[in-house]
Symmetry: C3
Subunit: 273 residues, 3 copies
């Protein structure tokens, strides 16, 4: 089965089953993540109290953990829900928002890696670089990249190290499961000018994981939905329209997304070693 056949089957499954995606996430973009999941046919639930996350995750087909607007209570809930999801065989997607900025996030990341088995980690380049090498300060990112050790290599090494799929989003996206590595060429610069596109990407990957597909395929489809929908939204802008309209059109594109959009626009390339 090639990628597009796999994607078609995943999209059909999601619309048919409407899987529940449990989020422990930040309050800045929770509304956006919920609407993105709904627009693709899934069913989102946001719940982050220590007293109930273990019960809630048992209803879910995927768990999305997001480190935005972190606090000590949510830290605890993330670990509880992650461990319970592992015990139940539910895929766990981690979005390490702001990793590298504070000790609270660094310490949670270390605990997650120790206690929870992750299915997919999705972050931007500076978050993922910090995971790759915590001693690297932001200034160091450019030098490492320009010295030839690129995002593809980092994704692959991290995937092998943590036995999961790693997705790095940016000007182009990279996804690796440690054995195969892909580069995705879809997207538009508008996506970086509204809040929540990173969080929504993680939610969409969670939704795709819930369809029962291999994590590598789920990450590729989730990021393709975001990139392609962003392109459609950007191209649809009328004279005078800006980022407000772009966001509206992004959700329009989510809700109309079909395999046809991928077939016409998808830009996934396997990276040859």
């Amino acid at each position: 089965m090639n990628l597009s056949q796999a994607f078609e089957s995943m999209l059909n499954n999601i619309r048919k089953e409407s899987p529940l995606i449990h989020h422990i996430t930040n309050y800045v973009t929770a509304n956006d993540s919920a609407n993105a999941v709904l627009a693709l046919g899934g069913s989102p639930v946001m719940a982050d109290a220590e007293e109930e996350v273990e019960e809630m995750v048992a209803f879910a087909s995927a768990l999305v953990l997001n480190m935005g607007t972190l606090n000590s209570q949510r830290t605890h809930s993330i670990l509880l829900a992650g461990k319970r999801a592992n015990a139940l065989g539910i895929p766990v997607i981690l979005d390490p928002v702001g990793l590298g900025t504070t000790k609270l996030r660094q310490s949670l990341m270390a605990k997650i890696l120790q206690e929870v088995s992750l299915t997919v980690i999705r972050g931007n380049l500076s978050e993922i670089m910090h995971l790759y090498d915590p001693s690297v300060v932001p200034r160091g990112v450019d030098s490492i990249l320009s010295s030839g050790e690129g995002a593809e290599e980092i994704a692959k090494v991290l995937a092998q190290r943590h036995h999961c799929t790693v997705a790095i989003t940016g000007e182009f996206d990279v996804v690796s499961n440690g054995r195969v590595t892909y580069r995705i060429g879809n997207g538009t610069s508008h996506l970086s000018k509204i809040t929540g596109t990173g969080c929504m990407s993680s939610s969409l990957i969670g939704l795709c994981c819930a369809s029962g597909a291999p994590p590598l395929h789920a990450a590729l489809l989730g990021l393709s939905i975001m990139g392609i929908s962003g392109e459609i939204a950007g191209e649809g802008l009328q004279p005078g329209e800006g980022l407000g309209s772009f966001k509206v059109r992004l959700f329009d594109a989510f809700s109309h997304f079909t395999i046809k959009d991928y077939l016409e626009r998808g830009k996934i390339y396997e990276v040859q070693e």
Copy 2:
């Protein structure tokens, strides 16, 4: 006075008085609820700290309690504000989000029913079913309904049991105060594909209660505003537009809502026993 005359008077009162609606609600849809209340002419305030909810509710004309993204602190605040609202004669609307999923929500529900006198309870069918009979598991909902004991009967029994008005939203809506029961036929399937329409419905019922109308009328008008605005938004969609545009048009319809919309489109039927 018939229903449409009552509604006209309520809508006029709201736009004239701009009543303050105190919400203790979740962070996923708080922005949507605030904008829905504003669009109809009310004045929303969201405040959920134990230290201040009793003071805040004293300024309000209605209190909306929403169990989404519940935590132990908000649990405590819900009870404090509810009791204070009762003491002050301020109507209390409860939205038991996710009732039936976790013990935290079940336990809060039990405490609310023991300590707070509710004016209106609004939920979807599975939430209300769990209130009707906590032993009913989701799978059981269909069987009970298909055995003839429908949503109307459940709303009526619950309204009598808890001495309040009960509103069930879904493909069609049901409202009962235990003596009279209505079915509302407005709405569109789009409303279930964006987050927040349930929460906004509860906020709109709170807003209508604040106009001083009987809770039964307030629930009927609140749900009619949501259903009819949803219809207008859905019919206004242009080719290529999807759920992003639908949400924008929904708020457009809220802000233009008048009694004329109800007169042209309202579908409220009294259920005959």
Copy 3:
């Protein structure tokens, strides 16, 4: 350098440097504030845990403190971050949401004034009146104003008292640094009918402070961006469009805002004593 030259330089700096604006803010409008900052070219971060705010603010070029959906944890974080920002020379903008309603907010305000040196305070008239004279109850606002002691005088006195710039927003806006006082005549009544325009105004002032400009200029530009963008959004409304479309067009206007909009529409008048 006149105001418009100063503004042009500030707008250019923001788009060039993309300064990080650290927010400790409420969950109702956090998404709106983040998108407003992004649309103008800044980089928002929302983080409110006591464990990390001191580290986070060190990365920022401005700190925006907002008292909406206050709780005891966020109260503590506001003080920690404010003091750290002072130590680092980072401008601090305070939005005293709901000041005058509860003791929690009054007590936090007192502590902030004692422990944190503020750069700009922005509030609506009743919040600022309470700061001016805590014994004034809302009913008293009108009498004081009608007795001739207007918003300009209040802004000026408060600016002198707290050694900062004070901005009052409403039907018209007033900004004073205690020596010079301005009145801004831009805006539209639509801005008061969606949630978040006050919070976004404070975020935009923070963004303008981050450009290194004098706080007086930053407050004037921040409020001019909001008022002028509101005018453009309101004028762009098509037949049938309402508050949903207005909000979309507001963000469109933010993302297209240039000095040309100010030159064509700006209405800043110095108040003569």
